[in-house]
Symmetry: D3
Subunit: 240 residues, 6 copies
């Protein structure tokens, strides 16, 4: 089984990290192909870059030679999953939704802890549209940008762990979804300080994609995700 | 006052029609500038084209020389309004939301009647995210594609009017929002057959944009729509 | 175009203030007629006075000679809008709903800041019935009564501004609707301290009423707001 | 124990019927006082009359000499209950809410069957505000006006029974609340044809009022229903 | 009229207390029969014991000789009410739901104050399933276990009263439902400190059960609570 | 990895079928142990049997010797999952929830098709409590009992397939969850007739359980599913 894991930003080192996270979660026999979008921003922290990423991810996947069995969109709270489901037959899994759906099996409510405050509405919108917000206790931001994470990882981890603790104590979360990139030791620190299970979106998405493939399930094509109708495109060389 | 009205597809004749609808609704002294996206599909009837339109509309607006006072995104149920609000300071009005917000002042519930069945989920998602779905009685499709509208306008109008009648009688809608392009006589026919007010999204959006400008109101910049953070872009010459 | 703006209390000086607010927002060519109810309380701060105001506003409008093009009910969180829509054909706009509908175009969520705590449930009920509560972050009270506003305007303004700041910081509001009468400088102070757009209900209602009139839209008469059926009235000389 | 049961219209014969229904449900030792409003319409079938009834019921109760132990507002889907709770200390029970709250103990969902279609939104609004709509399967209208009930009672009963059957079969209601005046044999016919329990609002309200009194419970006065603040009234001789 | 009041735990002294509470609320002529389950835990503070109690209560009621007119399940937030409604024709009232339904007639919102934090989700689930959560302001735990209540009643009462005050001040509750067993003076202390009405679930359930019986209403048998279908049971001697 | 798959009824042949379904879905290296409850009904079609099954499943699991890595409760719409989560540390997966969570990755909405009408509310309640009802289009019953399935499998399959078609066409479901036991060829027939993906709960649950185990995730123990507190049990020899 081959799964494409598509980063939403153009930072190759992050694609590599995501690919490694995916591989660590993958079953024996699963091949992970980590892709960087052909165009876009070096990090996605708002709607403009996220909308650009949406189409970049679609075109990048479409340019990749078949066969593959599933696609994972590896951005937290980003636009575009519906488009991937429309242009592909194989299952598509968004890591925001994968984390939430997994968390719901582990406790009565979950919180997402992310980086910047401005990411919170994007994540909330994804969960609402995906029908996964009823048991979402909160989406919390640590106030740390992606660059902060690299510049002062200790402070960043601490800020994130603090929000996780608040989510458990004040918002009554029973599970934490980490809505930010793979920092060394982050998961362990959150588990240790909160005592609750911590779900990583990439890992969760890999197991869900594998499961769908193994069960022979594909995206429904009857209405919302029916293949695109034929169109004439102007000034967009990448179109089908 | 100058308002940009941006079509979501690349069919110039539709841009022209939309511009005329906007002008018909505009107050004296309002200048309407109708724009066709620099790239994209000739009609938008699904997520792939809609995601492409989202970024195309943003780049087209950004390439347009200031000053202008407000921007209208003239596509029914399309992605991208959040991005426009983020990159601009002036008010941004989506016609799907403008029609619904206007309809709510006219009756206890409203229905949207649109073309293809596959547009229904896109419209429902926009209304849900905009907080406008509580009084939405239904979103109904006539099954007619845009090309059908041109090929056999009489049959198309009839199919749309029939759905509007069903919305009023079966779904208890008290107002109809027309979620499809300007066909001659369509509004009149729906009013005549249903006896309820019919709201056109483009016209509604123009008056809302004018009102926001006149009241001196602009998009809030504290969180969700704060300006994009500085980024490095790869292979995307249009970025800021 | 002539718009009736009806105060809900019998204090003529407040009617005058409301009329001036309305005129300041009106387009050239719009005539504003500010009306004081023929009977009722000098201020409305609870259900008893509000129910009395509901019928007083209706009778006052009905006694006013036609023609007029729209009616605005200028009380925050008051009963009665449904009745006006029923007895009139022209559009009816409630300022509570006008402010909320306008705020939703400016940010992802809004809060209302009002005077007394007891007004909060009345406002929440209006927003719920109007289908405008999904994006309402909070309704907050400053604890100041109308008389307090006149007695110590500086303290009143300060209390209101403080609640607006809490709404933005704690409740994550991105827009503020002011649910209390026109105090000098209030809007400016809230904008200055919070950095978010502030919507005044009277001004918003005027532009919405003008827009509906210009678009030729009237209240739907198919069900909820069908004209009253003929009745025999006892001891109520004002009835139709 | 003395309970005031207040009709919402000025038809004395209906007050008498309501009083008899109440007495039939009352416990030994409960005194029922049926009151007709001092002013208002001979039947209430819309917002205008309902708003008039709201204030008429309040003034009628206030003019009635104490002591009494509870008040029942005996109109289906009418405005005004909040005002009564505000001006009184004793418990106030609305028959729409009493029927729904009672029905919820008897089955998983309930429907209301009422007379005219225009009453449906009024009833739905009351249930929504009262927090009783989650298990409401539907509110259905038979299309019969109050006068129809008297003119052709057999046809009226048949129309109502037919709607009740549809509620059970199509909407999956497990209990029926009758939202229309006491027609001879109506309850029995609905029970017979549907096989589900049928709740009469007046009877339910009497037992709830009695229960609250016996338990020593009164309306909470901390916020929403705190007593009215002192006011100056113009041209309203009945004010406190 | 004979009402069975069934404790959910096997502590006979608690059954006695519950029986006395029920008798204090009962009308003259109502016979209260307090039952202890034939098997189960000495206190129910979690799902395991609650599921055991669910079946124990059912079998205990079934083993009790008819006639009786109604059954009350006297555990706060426990499983099993649906099963009782299924196996019995007479009305079944759960005290969690009885308290909430009663509270809704007394104020705009209510909070439940209970003992252990782990009971909160159980109570929330019951209210959600019963359609009674729309006006629930909060469910709060004092952190006191049942044994704490006996060991240090003064501290326990104080902890509970403190949570009730927080519910009124922070969560805007207007009524308090006590979700914990009868401690001497508890109700009075909460009323005194909060100034809001306090509802005891057992007392509320008795009056509701009496009312349903007096009105001749029984559980609907059309779908959800239709009698069990005939089955073969293995290793369960108590089955029908 | 060893997964216990626990039937909810005492029919050994059904346990065998369920075990085979589970094995067909399991990854290489996963050992499936199918268990029949130690006591209970031969089929579960209502609340009484379901409550009995809840405690029977718990005791059966507890009596089974460790080690095992996850537990699946293989009944559609049954009580008891919360209790299993409380008494165990390993992940617990309910097949109703597993099917729904899986379906949500394949289409915008899903329907459940089950056997008897009386199972519908039980399934709806499970989905509501699990936070999985926002995208549930409908739960539909074919009217076929379990015994009918065996007696006339062709008619049963046809009735179920017909409901699935209605779910897709009338309720706009894009995925079907089969809420009834494994009939030969059922899945294929539904796929063939509806053209949408069909999810089997047992298979979905196996892959979810495997995924949780592989990711090292266990049930959160901070609040709702904290281990039971020590209790004294009366007449229940199976208690801990």
């Amino acid at each position: 089984m081959r799964i494409l894991v598509v980063n939403v930003n153009t930072t190759d080192s992050m694609t590599k990290t995501i690919g490694e996270q995916a591989m660590a979660a993958a079953a024996p026999g699963t091949e992970i192909v980590a892709l960087t979008p052909a165009f876009g921003a070096d990090s996605v922290e708002g709607n403009y870059e996220s909308h650009l990423a949406a189409i970049a991810v679609m075109e990048t996947v479409r340019a990749y030679p078949e066969p593959y069995d599933a696609v994972i969109q590896a951005g937290y709270g980003e636009h575009g999953r519906e488009g991937l489901q429309e242009i592909l037959d194989v299952p598509v899994v968004d890591i925001t939704e994968a984390a939430a759906a997994t968390a719901q099996f582990l406790g009565r409510s979950y919180s997402v802890v992310t980086t910047l405050d401005r990411a919170v509405p994007l994540i909330e919108d994804r969960l609402l549209l995906a029908g996964l917000s009823a048991r979402c206790a909160s989406v919390r931001a640590s106030g740390m940008a992606v660059l902060d994470l690299e510049r002062d990882p200790d402070a960043a981890v601490e800020a994130i762990v603090d929000e996780a603790v608040r989510a458990v104590q004040q918002d009554r979360a029973e599970v934490i979804c980490l809505g930010c990139g793979g920092m060394a030791g982050l998961t362990e620190r959150v588990v240790e300080r909160t005592g609750v299970p911590v779900v990583d979106g990439v890992a969760a998405a890999v197991t869900i994609a594998e499961s769908l493939v193994r069960l022979g399930l594909k995206t429904s094509k009857v209405r919302t995700f029916a293949p695109p109708r034929p169109k004439q495109f102007r000034a967009w060389p990448m179109a089908v």
